[in-house]
């Protein structure tokens, strides 16, 4: 009888299974453990995590570390992925010509057209037919500003609207004899040009502006010719969906939507070489990737974001495996269409416009990671025979097959951080595996970009946890509509906000975006990457590339524990008539521990005595 430990060092977690082998194929599992991986997978620092995990697994058993006969390490597949974003379009407005934003409380409502003038200058102009749009700087108190406007009105001046720096729109409007549209909270008011024709629109509560978001209405207001109308299209588009806006016609105002020269990707297959410009979009790139498959190498134009990413992936992999950079080959990419809110250059109130972008994930596959080296080091440290036990994908499938109710032909899907892996075992026990670029990290990047968070950790939390809206000091409404009450009053900083329900408590989001919009971005990102990649991976390993010929699909790894990925993949696979579910390794471990379990099982099968 021997005690055997199976060790699976993954990108994020190190997992252990301890079994008692009493004869050929006779194994009884005693315990499991999981810790965070220390260092990059495949490096010697991993040993610290492995020893921790071993002790954790041995703790409840009445055995010492020295009682173990053999420690088995997985032969990790050396796959890493990286991601990058290539922006295709951006809006540049030289000489500021628009303000379009959503102050929470603009004043008045309606549409006003007039010439811009500073508040102090108003007293000096004579009454005529000329309507004015008054610029009120932050130095002016609202009561004073309202008084000056009132005086001007009584002199017979026409006031079409006002642009206010502070949050005073409602206060000023309430003190005027007749309501005028007022846009407030305009940060850079000193950049608003004076003496120029301006149009100002405030929609009623619950509505968005109608005129200034339509290029033809802007053309009507400012008497634009067809060529000029073409130029205001980006403005109109950027103003869509806001409650208030100002458009100012400046003589030299030059607005353009610039197409940024994006890089090219060169796909090298066994027989052919194909070039795709990134700005043709994700669909065009992925169609070419499918044509060229199996891929030998992917190159990117140097000096572009994509080129930089490819360099980085190669470098990391070269360092990890002690091989020259030139021998590292990128073997798969995943492209996804996305959009990126970009601050408009020369904006007056921090306006954003959506630029188109393509997100790219790349994956590198090399010879073996130095797991032998790691095994020798571990053996030195703990004084127990340590061996590299077998190919990771094979072990995972053996482990997954211990899930009650499964049988060959069985496929497993493992969505990790950098790559999405799939393997299939047929009735004659042959195993076929694949690794696809694009997984968890890419979803985080998409969420980060599309919501304009500029905070990778926050995006990671949004990916991992459900959302809720704090509706009162004592209750929140979850994203599924259910309500949760609390005995203690919630932190006032959470009040009225969308929060992420992390393990360490609710985390408020600064954004004013609606909960439904954030949920939508999150689910779309997961669909674009996880579901698409799961299907792509299964197609490659399925008999005759036909997913219908697989009977069972089990999800393994940490992603199997996500709160919505399993159901999304399940929905997508339903039309293929495949039984899909989360693995339950040994009937107890859930989707975890498949590889560690597989290692012990494989050892037991070859056990002689």
């Amino acid at each position: 009888m021997r005690y055997i430990a199976g060790v699976d060092v993954g990108n994020n977690t190190t997992e252990i299974a301890i079994g008692e082998v009493s004869g050929k194929g006779k194994v009884r599992f005693l315990s499991s453990a999981m810790v965070r991986t220390v260092g990059i997978k495949g490096t010697l620092r991993n040993v610290i995590g492995i020893i921790d995990a071993l002790d954790l697994a041995l703790q409840p058993l009445a055995i010492q570390r020295k009682d173990l006969s053999v420690v088995l390490l997985n032969e990790a597949t050396p796959v890493i992925g990286d991601i990058a974003m290539e922006t295709i379009t951006e809006t540049i407005i030289t000489e500021s010509a628009m303000i379009g934003h959503n102050p929470s409380t603009p004043g008045g409502q309606g549409l006003g057209l007039g010439q811009t003038i500073g508040l102090p200058e108003l007293a000096a102009v004579a009454a005529d037919a000329q309507p004015w749009v008054v610029i009120i700087p932050g130095t002016a108190e609202f009561a004073d500003a309202a008084e000056q406007l009132k005086r001007a009105l009584s002199r017979g001046l026409k006031i079409a609207g006002a642009i206010v720096q502070k949050d005073d729109g409602v206060l000023i409007n309430n003190r005027l004899p007749q309501p005028i549209p007022i846009v407030d909270e305009v940060k850079f008011i000193d950049r608003v040009p004076v003496g120029m024709p301006a149009a100002l629109e405030v929609a009623q509560p619950g509505r968005t502006i109608e005129k200034l978001s339509n290029p033809f209405d802007i053309a009507t207001l400012f008497h634009l010719d067809p060529e000029e109308t073409r130029k205001v299209v980006p403005i109109a588009r950027a103003l869509m969906g806001t409650r208030s806006a100002v458009v100012i016609k400046t003589p030299k105002g030059d607005i353009e939507e610039r197409r940024i020269p994006a890089g090219k990707i060169i796909l090298l297959g066994h027989r052919q070489k194909v070039e795709v410009p990134v700005d043709e979009g994700a669909d065009a790139i992925m169609a070419k990737v499918a044509d060229v498959y199996p891929m030998e190498e992917v190159q990117a134009e140097p000096g572009t974001n994509v080129g930089g990413m490819f360099e980085h992936v190669r470098q990391v992999m070269a360092d990890l495996t002690d091989q020259p950079v030139s021998t590292i080959r990128v073997q798969d990419i995943l492209a996804v269409d996305t959009f990126k809110p970009q601050q408009i250059l020369g904006s007056l109130a921090g306006e954003y416009a959506l630029g188109n972008a393509v997100g790219l994930a790349a994956m590198v596959h090399t010879q073996k990671l130095p797991m032998q080296r790691l095994a020798r080091k571990l053996e030195e440290e703990i004084g127990i025979q340590t061996m590299v036990g077998g190919v990771e994908a094979d072990m995972a499938i053996r482990g997954a097959l211990t899930t009650p109710g499964t049988d060959a032909p069985l496929a497993i899907v493992d969505v990790g951080g950098g790559s999405t892996d799939a393997s299939v075992i047929n009735t004659s026990c042959e195993i076929k595996s694949t690794h696809q670029a694009g997984a968890g990290d890419m979803v985080t990047m998409l969420i980060n970009t599309e919501l304009g968070l500029e905070d990778f950790d926050l995006a990671e939390n949004i990916k991992k946890y459900p959302l809720a809206k704090v509706e009162s000091l004592f209750h929140m409404r979850h994203e599924d509509g259910s309500v949760q009450f609390f005995q203690q009053a919630l932190d006032p900083r959470l009040f009225g906000r969308v929060v992420v329900l992390t393990d360490s408590g609710p985390l408020p989001l600064e954004t004013r975006q609606l909960l439904s919009k954030i949920v939508d971005v999150r689910r779309q990102a997961k669909r674009k990457v996880f579901v698409k990649n799961a299907l792509r991976a299964l197609e490659r390993v399925a008999p005759a590339n036909n997913i219908r010929l697989i009977s069972f699909v089990a999800m393994v790894g940490g992603s199997g524990l996500d709160f919505e990925i399993p159901s999304m993949i399940s929905d997508a696979l339903q039309e293929y008539g495949v039984v899909t579910g989360r693995a339950n390794v040994r009937g107890t471990e859930g989707p975890r521990n498949a590889v560690a379990t597989g290692l012990v099982l494989a050892y037991a099968e070859e056990f002689g005595g």
Partner: protein
Amino acid sequence: MAELSSIEQERKPTVRVIACQIGERELSPILWGLEEEGIPSEVQSVSGGEAVALARQAAQMSALNVGVALHGGEGKAVLHHRDLAEGAPLFTLPLQGVESFRLRLLGMNAARLVKGEPLLFGEEPVTAASADDPPEVAFERQACGLRPGSEELLEVVVRTVIELLGKG
């Protein structure tokens, strides 16, 4: 408290503001904050009472469940909600030397509490003057990076002082 009980019958859909020994200077900004956020308010003056208790009472009299008390004697402004325990008001603001925009913020938060919108926390209001970085920043950074000997240090300090004076 006789003057309060008479009004307690009719709960109006307003944020109730109770003022006790308080002037326009403190009261007005609170009302402007409420007005800008579009929530109606109602002011009532009382001659005595304790600030937190008054705020709580104001919240109970408001059909919007939100009340504010300004107490000149105790020198504080208190924002309370009907559902909170009496001893645990949402915000308490000392009136001693308080800037007007802080009071306005309190009024805005009272309104936002009614509307269910995120509360505001002490952001300075935008003014035309706030465009440039204050000159101290450069000085602090320089001072932090120092690990020289005492003579050198003295020299640097002298130089920095001269620089600062020059800038001022």
